[in-house]
């Protein structure tokens, strides 16, 4: 038996198909994964993402600590509520995890890390926090629900307490707001659509989920979450990057803050060395026209250049063909071949995302 979120019984009662995800028993779908996917692209869906771990970091030197801990620079966070996406690296540049961090006050930042990496993340964060006098508090008392889709905010707003709804509707993209009673709403997500991620006390989660259902949000499982994030060109930790690769080999160079040069974040010297000599591999998007589906670990062959591997692959419900991400030699051009069930298929190398705001990206 795996770990269970506060909504586990609710999902089982709704006859969700439950699977193991990073040690958690999570709904993979509630019926048709493709219909759930389309609900998010066209209207509004909701996801139980309580398996993800919220970590509060408090202390007078918390900003200084995070400037050391993270490859992106929290000095960019000027206005309270602003969020930043970053990798957390080993000294050798390997990715421990990717995460979102919110600046709430000069003494309080909040991080959201992946479920499967939670324990090693907490260990790593604590090992470095002491020197800065920063306290590290995982918020196991909070559930998290993501509402995503072009109509998600409007539909979900009526389920929130009025003053929280007003504050939430006023949020700019990539900002969060801490409300009363441990509720927190952020205009973030993992689908490529507008929406909120809402943290709330676990005791209120089942009732809130029911209110969202009544408000017309479609319950969605992790299956749709995966096809949505892949269409949006977003990496999945454990698939597309891990401790054996750097952000530069994972399509995440844009999340590394090189300036100011004096900022000594963990992993910096390894990344600088890799950048100077040139990363040998890169992460790219793949598209195939044939009736076959890219899956992680399939072999990629780039004629006269070398080999690589599909890191994530799926059938894209929006494009109605297969898309994927692959780690390939840096010199890979516009074409490659992928071995699928013993046969080689032609693939086009593209720059993610594949889908933005519900529509195929022009170059796709």
């Amino acid at each position: 038996m795996g770990l269970r979120t506060a909504l586990y019984d609710t999902h089982v009662a709704a006859r969700a198909r439950m699977v193991d995800f990073g040690g958690w028993d999570m709904p993979v779908n509630f019926g048709s994964q493709i219909e759930e996917h389309h609900a998010v692209r066209r209207d509004a869906g909701m996801f139980d993402v309580s398996h993800m771990c919220v970590v509060d970091l408090r202390g007078a030197k918390v900003r200084e600590f995070l400037r050391r801990l993270l490859a992106n620079d929290v000095a960019k966070l000027g206005k309270p509520g602003k969020a930043l996406y970053s990798c957390m690296l080993r000294e050798n540049g390997g990715v421990i995890d990717d995460l979102i961090v919110y600046f709430l006050t000069e003494e309080w930042f909040r991080m959201v890390v992946n479920a499967g990496t939670r324990d090693k993340d907490l260990e790593w964060i604590r090992a470095h926090a002491g020197a800065f006098g920063v306290s590290v508090e995982p918020r196991f008392d909070l559930a998290m629900v993501a509402v995503q889709g072009p109509n998600a905010r409007q539909r979900a707003a009526v389920t929130l307490e009025p003053s929280l709804a007003a504050a939430a509707l006023a949020l700019e993209p990539f900002y969060g707001h801490a409300g009363a009673g441990h509720w927190f709403v952020a205009r973030t997500g993992y689908t490529g659509e507008d929406g909120w991620e809402i943290m709330l006390p676990i005791g209120e989660a089942a009732d809130f989920w029911q209110r969202l259902k009544v408000a017309g949000l479609v319950q969605c499982g992790l299956g749709a979450r995966d096809t949505l994030r892949l269409e949006a060109g977003m990496n999945l930790y454990g698939n597309d990057m891990d401790e054996t690769v750097s952000p530069l080999e994972s399509g995440l160079g844009w999340t590394v803050a090189w300036e100011p040069q004096g900022r000594d974040f963990i992993g910096r010297s390894a990344l600088v060395a890799q950048k100077t000599s040139g990363a040998r591999r890169k992460l790219v998007g793949l598209l195939i026209e044939d009736r076959a589906v890219l899956r992680s670990h399939q072999k990629v062959v780039v004629p006269a250049v070398g080999e690589g591997e599909v890191t994530s692959g799926t059938f894209s419900p929006t494009l109605e063909r297969s898309i994927g991400l692959a780690r390939v030699p840096a010199k890979t051009g516009e074409r490659c071949e992928v071995e699928i069930r013993g046969r080689f298929f032609q693939a086009r190398v593209v720059r993610p995302p594949f889908v933005r705001n519900g529509k195929a990206v022009a170059a796709i």
Partner: protein
Amino acid sequence: MSNVPADLRYLKSHEWARLEADGTIAVGISDHAQQALGDLVFVEAPEAGRRVSAGEACAVVESVKAASDVYSPVSGEIVAGNADLGGQPELINSDPYGAGWIMRIRPDDKAQFAALLDAKAYEAALAADTH
């Protein structure tokens, strides 16, 4: 919870087989299998005329989640693949025992059909799988 019609025969690998009035055998995947696979997106059905052996992988069903081989329950000749599945693979999800049939086979030996699992035996195999 899945539907296992009493009048069909089954393989442990989740194919169903039905003896038709013309002596051919229709083959598809069970309701349990389609639920486990999730939304079907591609189906590669075999072409008419192909010889197959019992237990041979002769079709592929691919869902959003995974690809899966479909095994022939009997030895014989393929008389038809379901062409409708090319444009509508979701027929397997909506009607696994009807419009979602995958192929029809003329068996060399009807005794092979009689030796397949009956509904009770398949249900028992499913129950053993989930415990």
